[in-house]
């Protein structure tokens, strides 16, 4: 839709690119321009390509530059394998995208996530679309991946699998088949569509009508904590750090979280997936560093606590 607005730009994209490069290197007020340009770009919500050019033009530009480089390498006697060629394309995709949209690296990474299946054959959580014709997503014994995930969620939340089967109206023998075939498909699918979609459903905490009345027991405190890790990323990071520290001190982290915060493994993993998906979709390296550092700091704090409980660490008496 917006393509026409910027028709002039796509008309002779090569020329424009050179201009872009020049502005980037020679313009003194680069920062101002950068900010303004950044505002102006409109992105297609699905592909995250700028709407001022067409995807075909983009792909063609990348191919042209990559092939020129490949030809050059080969002419100088380099032996390029499949991986090298993929890397060359990968790098030019980054270059062209950044140039054409005049964007920062976070935007570029968001673009890569949105297009990972197209360009590298691998899915990214938060961007999977269900393709009805994908044989890996065909229902197993009439049970689709979404329903299978809903069952898994109930079971890892602590509901007995026999109860889950009963609610679904089938015998355990069917569940055992599902629980073998779906994981097998996850392993077989090299695009990771099954795995990633499973994770996406997990993050959404999907359910099906048959299972709605099955609830894992959760204490009042647990429910409050669960709500808090969903909305307060810092609190989530704290518990993730604590859980990691627990493992390092010989405690089962999942059980420890359940006992101390009342959150079961399914709910915890589901929230972890939610934050991960959110992070993929709104990639922001500053935030990522911030949360990572926060988790590390919290892990250290909890580690100190666990260490004190066991009478210190083995190497406490070694000093510089």
């Amino acid at each position: 839709m917006f393509k026409k607005l910027f028709g002039a730009l796509t008309g002779d994209s090569k020329q424009e690119n050179q201009n872009f490069e020049q502005t980037q290197t020679s313009n003194d007020s680069y920062d101002d321009n950068y900010a303004n340009d950044y505002q102006e770009i409109e992105y297609d919500p699905e592909t995250l390509h700028g709407t001022h050019y067409s995807v075909e033009d983009f792909d063609a530009e990348v191919a042209e530059r990559a092939e020129a480089w490949i030809a050059d390498e080969r002419a100088s006697g380099e032996n390029l394998d499949e991986k090298d060629i993929q890397n060359i394309y990968f790098n030019y995709r980054r270059t062209v995208y950044t140039e054409w949209n005049n964007c920062d690296s976070d935007q570029m990474i968001r673009f890569e996530h949105a297009n990972s299946l197209k360009y590298s054959g691998v899915q990214t959580s938060g961007f999977v679309k269900v393709d009805e014709n994908n044989p890996f997503l065909e229902p197993v014994h009439g049970v689709d991946l979404r329903t299978y995930t809903a069952m898994c969620l109930k079971i890892s939340a602590g509901v007995d699998y026999l109860e889950v089967c009963k609610a679904m109206g089938f015998e355990p023998v069917v569940w055992e088949e599902l629980n073998t075939i779906w994981p097998q498909r996850m392993g077989e699918d090299t695009s990771f569509t099954v795995t990633t979609l499973f994770g996406q459903y997990y993050a959404e905490n999907v359910t099906v009508p048959q299972l709605e009345n099955l609830k894992a027991e959760i204490s009042e405190e647990g429910a409050a904590n669960l709500e808090r890790i969903k909305t307060d990323r810092y609190f989530y990071e704290e518990l993730a750090g604590a859980r990691q520290a627990a493992y390092e001190y010989g405690l089962d982290g999942a059980q420890w979280i359940l006992e101390n915060f009342g959150i079961n493994l399914a709910d915890f993993q589901s929230v972890a997936m939610q934050w991960m998906t959110e992070q993929n979709q709104n990639w922001n390296s500053a935030d990522i560093t911030e949360f990572h550092d926060y988790q590390q700091a919290k892990q250290k704090e909890y580690a100190a606590k666990f260490a004190a409980e066991q009478g210190g660490n083995i190497a406490d008496d070694v000093n510089f």
């Binding site: 065909e138 229902p139 197993v140 014994h141 009439g142 049970v143 890892s156 602590g158 109206g169 089938f170 015998e171 023998v173 069917v174 088949e177 599902l178 073998t180 075939i181 010989g250 405690l251 089962d252 999942a254 059980q255 359940l258 493994l265 066991q310 009478g311 083995i314 008496d317």
Partner: protein
Amino acid sequence: MEEKKVNSFLDRLKQKAQSQTNYGGEMEINDAKMNVRDCPNCGAGRAKQDGVTHCAYCGFEFITLKLTDGVYIKKEDNSI
């Protein structure tokens, strides 16, 4: 002296590990079992005529799903 510290650490660690509950509770250890499901409608045992999804006598639907090719259950197990 040093030796003691490592040993007492290990002792406590072992104790801690053994006293903890496993997440999801203890796993039951079961022997192999054979069972049969009787038809809740006519009381007959589930017999194989054409498949496993319906009662061979009264047609009651044991499994409401459409079976596909799985590990041991196959498409042919759908009753006609």
